[in-house]
Amino acid sequence: MPLFKLEKKPPRGPAGKWDVVVGEQLCKACGFCLNVCPVDVFAYRKTTNKIGWFPMYTAHEENCIGCMLCYQICPDFCIDVRPKGEASAAGSTSAIQASTLP
């Protein structure tokens, strides 16, 4: 099975039950999460973050199938994938993206 799936497929099975939170101020734009993801969740921002990269963000959280590959492959502790409704340090995507993360 290939590591990176450049072609994104629509989700098979339950989707949209996961909060996908990206710490955009920590992201160094390596591209692993976007490319390892089997469905279409991530995209690059058009403006840079505080450390000078165009960070990843959660563009289509509703497609997430909870495979956790992005969480495992991120080298910068940026991504949290938690079941929706579960109290977690991650919080919801919109709330975190509205704030400035450390």
């Binding site: 990176f4 160094k28 390596c30 080298p75 991650a90 993360l101």
Partner: protein, 277 residues
């Protein structure tokens, strides 16, 4: 930061000094999962690191007590420290230079003594922090900053060295084997003895640039993936394959070093106490 990083890491050190696409952060993320799955708290674990990319990028990220040793000497310091603080879990996170080159003597003797620490040897197959010179684990023929005509020195696998020296847990994974690494680090931490986990990971800036010809993060991680599988994307064979998995598991079969000394002390003091006045 993700929830484990929030729980265990030092916020002032995140983002780390690592380059983009570097494998060190990935491996640390998996180590945090192992720590959490074992129910360990910050104060239960001590991190020891060295010099070089792995040493410097990891140092001070851990939120609890940690030390950054001189080059190659993390295990020497850990030997003294474990005598003073035997009940903690030790994660000695070092690179291939620190463990398999300058620090190999201490690696061998810590394994021989069965010192109760877990060494995570994160191997990017060269001295990448100083620009990309070759190391004792650089594969044969590869071009690096100091092997411009190709690596001609034979390389070795530090797993073989520690196994021969008496390590009680030896395993190898790569940067595309997250589930295996989490499970293996958990097992390694549960060995009250010397555990050695060897993880190969990609370097984009130096090894990628000079040996593989690209700084593309996807291509370099794929190179790791191919050499883990033994097969390239087009189905052809790779020039070599890493043998991954648990190579030797004699966990908890031999007494741990500081336990040996403490037992000896108890015997000596008992004899003194029971002897003639």
């Amino acid at each position: 930061m993700n929830h484990l990083a929030t729980k265990y890491l030092r916020p002032s050190q995140i983002p780390t000094k690592a380059c983009h696409g570097c494998g060190i952060g990935m491996i640390e993320n998996w180590i945090l999962q192992s720590i959490e799955e074992l129910g360990l708290k910050r104060e239960d674990v001590i991190f020891g690191t060295g010099i070089g990319c792995v040493g410097r990028q990891t140092f001070a990220t851990w939120g609890g007590d940690n030390f950054g040793a001189t080059h190659g000497r993390a295990l020497a310091i850990a030997t003294g420290l474990k005598l003073a603080q035997p009940d903690k879990k030790y994660l000695i996170v070092v690179g291939d230079g620190d463990a398999a080159s300058i620090g190999t003597s201490h690696l061998i003797h810590a394994a021989r003594r069965n010192l109760g620490v877990t060494v995570i040897c994160e191997d990017n197959m060269g001295y990448e922090s100083t620009g990309g010179q070759f190391s004792p684990t650089t594969p044969a023929g590869y071009v690096t900053n100091s092997s411009p005509y190709g690596m001609v020195e034979p390389s070795f696998d530090p797993c073989d060295v520690v196994k021969a020296a008496g390590a009680t847990f030896v395993a190898e994974t790569t940067a595309t084997q997250w589930h295996q690494t989490v499970k293996i680090v958990k097992k390694a931490l549960q060995n009250d003895g010397f555990s050695f986990v060897h993880v190969r990971f990609p370097c984009n800036e130096n090894f990628g640039a000079y040996a593989l010809g690209t700084r593309d993060t996807l291509k370099n991680l794929e190179w790791i993936y191919e050499h883990t599988q033994g097969r390239k994307a087009d189905g052809s064979e790779t020039d070599f394959t890493w043998e991954t998995g648990i190579k030797h598991d004699a966990s908890n079969s031999r007494p741990e070093f500081t336990r040996i000394l403490r037992d000896m002390n108890a015997r000596v003091r008992e004899k003194l106490g029971g002897g003639p006045a």
